[in-house]
Symmetry: C2
């Protein structure tokens, strides 16, 4: 009777939202049916509509919930990161991500969907993070921690995109290097190489090579 995973003692509405979040993250919005979500939450399909108006309403609620979770992650770290970077190990979006979300959380996968389906929610999220990255990079340059960039707008995008790529291609990376890069061991190995490349470079400059 109860094939559902009752997450603690949450309300049915919260259970539906959580089930939808996980299923949407795993398989995409279109591939998941209202009946599946209802079954995963242990309720009837009609209750889903009763609480959220429609499947699109549920989708919007999930987008909102996930967006809040992501923003909370970064707003709490704006000061923290500012000193983390002047101090010891330089943090990355991917590192923060892995640390903030416990293993098995559907949120990284949901972020992937948000950024890949070209919906406004994903675009807005990226825009906010890009602005944050630019601000951070400017501060770091002033502090002398970051080398000045010839094209700051592109450099900020370059660094942000590189970090997000790890989240987006997590599964493929895991298959390639044999470790899930969003687990503690994976983070350590990844951060090691990222730090090395970002401080010492990866290639040797060849003569007569300039950006054209």
């Amino acid at each position: 009777m109860s094939s559902a995973v009752d997450e603690g003692d949450l309300t049915a509405k919260a259970n539906i939202r959580n089930a939808a979040l996980r299923l949407f993250a795993e398989r995409g919005h279109d591939a998941v049916t209202v009946r599946e979500i209802a079954a995963a939450a242990g309720v009837s399909p009609a209750l889903v509509v009763h609480h959220f108006g429609s499947k699109d309403g549920l989708r919007a609620a999930v987008d909102d919930y996930a967006g809040q979770a992501f923003d909370a992650l970064f707003s709490m770290d704006e000061h923290e990161l500012a000193e983390a970077l002047t101090g010891g190990s330089l943090g990355s979006v991917a590192e923060m991500f892995a640390r903030a979300f416990p293993h098995g959380s559907p949120l990284p996968a949901y972020l992937r969907r948000l950024l890949l389906v070209n919906d406004p929610a994903g675009a807005a999220l990226f825009g906010r993070w890009y602005a944050l990255t630019r601000r951070l990079l400017d501060s770091m340059t002033e502090l002398g921690v970051a080398r000045p960039a010839e094209d700051p707008a592109v450099r900020a995008a370059f660094l942000l995109v590189n970090d997000l790529a790890l989240v987006l291609l997590r599964n493929q990376v895991a298959a390639a290097i044999g470790v899930d890069p969003l687990t503690p061991e994976g983070i350590a190995r990844w951060a090691g190489e990222a730090t090395a490349v970002y401080t010492k470079g990866a290639f040797v400059a060849t003569p007569g090579q300039e950006s054209s």
Copy 2:
């Protein structure tokens, strides 16, 4: 009657495949109906099934077609790249991509779908590219063009993933920096910063900072 875009004088089968490729790339497999594909190709829905057996058969054919296009891109460049890197500007996957596919080609977007939907075709593609990247990086290290990595497996993944990220997040990057990074101007700006970071580094090493 002919709302279709007859691409030259191709056969109806090829027209269907091309229409499906474009629609799949734009909106994802599940969000596109057989009727839409048929309408885009200017044929009846039944003909789609007649030629490809089923919608999944069409999807497999499109996957195959796109996979061949991607592999051709890289197999033709294995030698070419080997000398390109020892010589002048160091190429990137994204650069090759942008140069190989004319503006407006659906293939970059289709690659995005392949890599983000966790289907075997995308995983296989990534695996092949990862192997290629590792080989290339080893050669470059031997030649003294690349700095030796402490963790070569991770470094290869890091560099590959960073390149792919530009393709995956193309739209968001375009919105952020104001230029589509897969156009000639965009490539130039992006390559400039990428080269700078990869040769000179982006951050200044701080004392007592080591991986882990």
